[in-house]
């Protein structure tokens, strides 16, 4: 389970990073979203991975699941969601105002575009 989990996280993070370094705003936004998924998964596992742990409620005995990562990851998801929504709107606004969806605001017909 650990191997699968860490590979998933790693692949997500690598894809996110690759896309975030692209030159157009849409891949950048998608990349940052993927990166935040990877981070959320990572955060979820930070208390250690185990299955079948009981909820921290009542007095059932046996191993409990660590409730803190769950609470933290919930917060991180909410914040990440808001930030993604914001960056999508911002990317659309930038497309409208700058007339280009390039992160440096270059037009397609400008020679600088080819260099960057």
């Amino acid at each position: 389970m650990e191997a699968l989990f860490s590979m998933t996280t790693g692949v997500l993070a690598a894809c996110g990073l690759f896309l975030a370094l692209r030159g157009r705003t849409f891949p950048v936004v998608v990349g940052l979203t993927l990166l935040s998924y990877a981070v959320n998964l990572f955060l979820f596992s930070m208390g250690g991975l185990d299955t079948g742990g009981a909820v921290v409620l009542g007095d059932k005995g046996g191993p409990h699941a660590d409730p803190l990562p769950q609470a933290l990851v919930l917060t991180a998801i909410v914040i990440g969601f808001a930030m993604t929504a914001f960056s999508v709107i911002l990317a659309m606004r930038a497309r409208g105002d700058l007339g280009s969806d390039h992160v440096n605001g270059n037009r397609v017909d400008e020679p600088r575009e080819e260099r960057s």
Partner: protein, 512 residues
């Protein structure tokens, strides 16, 4: 429990929510609410400083969940000082914004208050994850404020700023995850108590987590390899927002200071003083490049942004020196530099408004209308920020230079002094271009064309005087203030007292 501690978060929260509800209609009620809230915040900050001056560390357990399980707010001398500084800076830039900048877009005042809430929360919190949450609060407000009023330059630099900070937030969470996985808690006092006892297998991971946090805080505070976003973003932001942003870099510096003196401080065994050597060399490089940047700027706004980089380098060098004296000196310097760079952003905006087409560019152009007032203020501000006596920059820099040990002096003195020299040269060049090389003919023509152009107005002048006038006051009251900052540095160095103050009640209850 002392409810005063939570007020610096609640006042801007409720003021901000109220302001978001009342978005339409005349601007006056919004301005009054915002000003009243900020004045209340300032009063609150001063009360907190008085409260903390005695030297006791108090905490406020939110929801009465006891530490280390619940989220707590911690009041010590350092956090009280930072809250007061924020309120003072905010008051100055709010006065300035109320003269008209706030109506260039919507929701200025609401976002401004939420930004203050995030900043105050970051200064007061005693929990590392809560620090992340308040970082996000202040960031999302700053994204919107940066683009207040719209325009190509702002949207352009805004996207870079947002993307960079989103990546920074991801790193912050990874760092937090690693630290929780290894140390097993996110309460700062509890982390500080547990860090020395880590077994060797976890040490490497904890170190990696701590260094990730350093990267994140370095991004916020604009240290050398991570500062390239700052000049463009700050130069594009509306002046009152840029003035308030002067405190944002200090949030990063505060976080470095807090985390790497408390949790990974000298008591932390193998993790002790993890960041300081890195911070020291990077700070010196930041200082040097800031000096080059100031000399090479062709626009007053960019120039002030590079002055911020210099101040960041100076402050981080203070952290890198890692002694109580250096921390005391850097806190004094922090008060001075935050207010004066904030004031400079406002001043540059006033100058740009009166120069017509030339704006803030450092070129020959039309003369400003209020040469005497703006010229004098620019003169004072330039001398202050460059660190020339008799203004507060000189006091702060002298304290820092004095605090260096002989080994550190070899590096710090030449670099800090030559960056000051660069600032003097650059500012005197731009000042003489703007004020003296202006053509008189155009000036009279400009007067004929728009003879009714008003001066900077009472509100703007008030905001300017509040921030730039703080410099002579900082010199006049240098004694009490530096005594306070030294006491704050003493308190910062005393980890045991911090840990005791927060965990003792819980420990005694557990024993009984």
């Amino acid at each position: 429990m002392n409810h005063l501690i939570v007020l610096p978060i609640l006042i801007p929260l409720f003021a901000g929510l109220g302001l978001l509800l009342k978005r339409e209609g005349p601007a006056l009620p919004r301005r009054l609410i915002a000003l009243a809230a900020t004045v209340a915040l300032l009063v609150c900050g001063v009360l907190l400083m008085r409260e903390s001056a005695g030297g006791t560390i108090q905490y406020y357990a939110l929801g009465d969940w006891q530490p280390p399980f619940g989220i707590i707010l911690v009041l010590d001398r350092l956090s009280a000082l930072m809250v007061t500084l924020t309120a003072l800076l905010a008051l100055g830039s709010l006065c300035y914004a109320s003269a008209g900048t706030d109506e260039e877009g919507s929701n200025f005042h609401g976002l401004f208050q939420l930004q203050l809430m995030g900043i105050n929360g970051a200064f007061l919190t005693g929990d590392l994850f809560n620090l992340f949450v308040f970082f996000e609060v202040l960031l999302i407000a700053s994204y919107s404020l940066l683009m207040h009023g719209g325009g190509k330059a702002r949207i352009h630099s805004g996207f870079h700023y947002v993307a960079l900070n989103l990546a920074g937030s991801a790193l912050f969470l990874i760092g937090l995850g690693v630290l929780y996985g290894t140390i097993g808690t996110l309460n700062m006092a509890d982390m500080a108590a547990r860090a020395p006892g880590l077994d060797s297998g976890r040490l490497v991971l904890a170190e990696a987590g701590a260094m990730l946090l350093l990267v994140v805080f370095g991004l916020k505070s604009a240290i050398l390899p991570l500062y390239f976003w700052l000049p463009r973003a700050y130069a594009a932001a509306p002046a009152p927002v840029a003035a308030l942003f002067a405190i944002l870099t200090k949030v990063g510096i505060y976080a470095i200071l807090r985390v790497f003196t408390l949790i990974f401080g000298p008591q932390a065994g193998s993790l002790a003083n993890l960041a300081q050597p890195w911070v020291w060399w990077l700070a010196l490089a930041t200082l040097a490049l800031g000096g080059v940047g100031v000399l090479s700027s062709r626009d007053l706004r960019t120039q002030v942004a590079y002055l911020i980089i210099i101040s960041v380098g100076t402050l981080l060098a203070g952290i890198g020196m890692n002694s109580i004296d250096a921390h005391g000196a850097l806190l004094y310097y922090m008060v001075h530099t935050t207010l004066i760079t904030g004031g400079l952003f406002l001043l540059v905006d006033s100058i740009a408004r009166q120069r017509g087409k030339a704006g803030a560019r450092i070129v020959r152009g039309r003369s400003v209308q209020q040469v005497a007032l703006l010229g004098t203020l620019f003169f004072i501000a330039a001398l202050t920020v460059a660190g020339v006596p008799p203004f507060s920059g000189a006091v702060g820099k002298a304290l820092l230079l004095q605090a260096a040990t002989p080994g550190q002096q070899v590096w710090l003195w030449p670099i800090l002094l030559s960056s000051s020299l660069a600032a003097i040269v650059a500012l005197s060049r731009s000042g003489s271009t703007v004020f003296w090389r202006a053509s008189g003919n155009e000036r009279s023509e400009a007067r004929d064309n728009n003879g009714d152009t008003p001066g900077i107005g009472a509100l703007r002048a008030l905001g300017l005087l509040l921030l730039i006038g703080a410099s002579p006051l900082l010199v006049a009251f240098a004694g009490p203030l530096s005594a306070y900052t030294e006491a704050a540095a003493d308190q910062l160095a005393d980890h045991e007292a911090y840990i005791q103050a927060i965990l003792e009640r819980h420990r005694t209850e557990g024993d009984s």
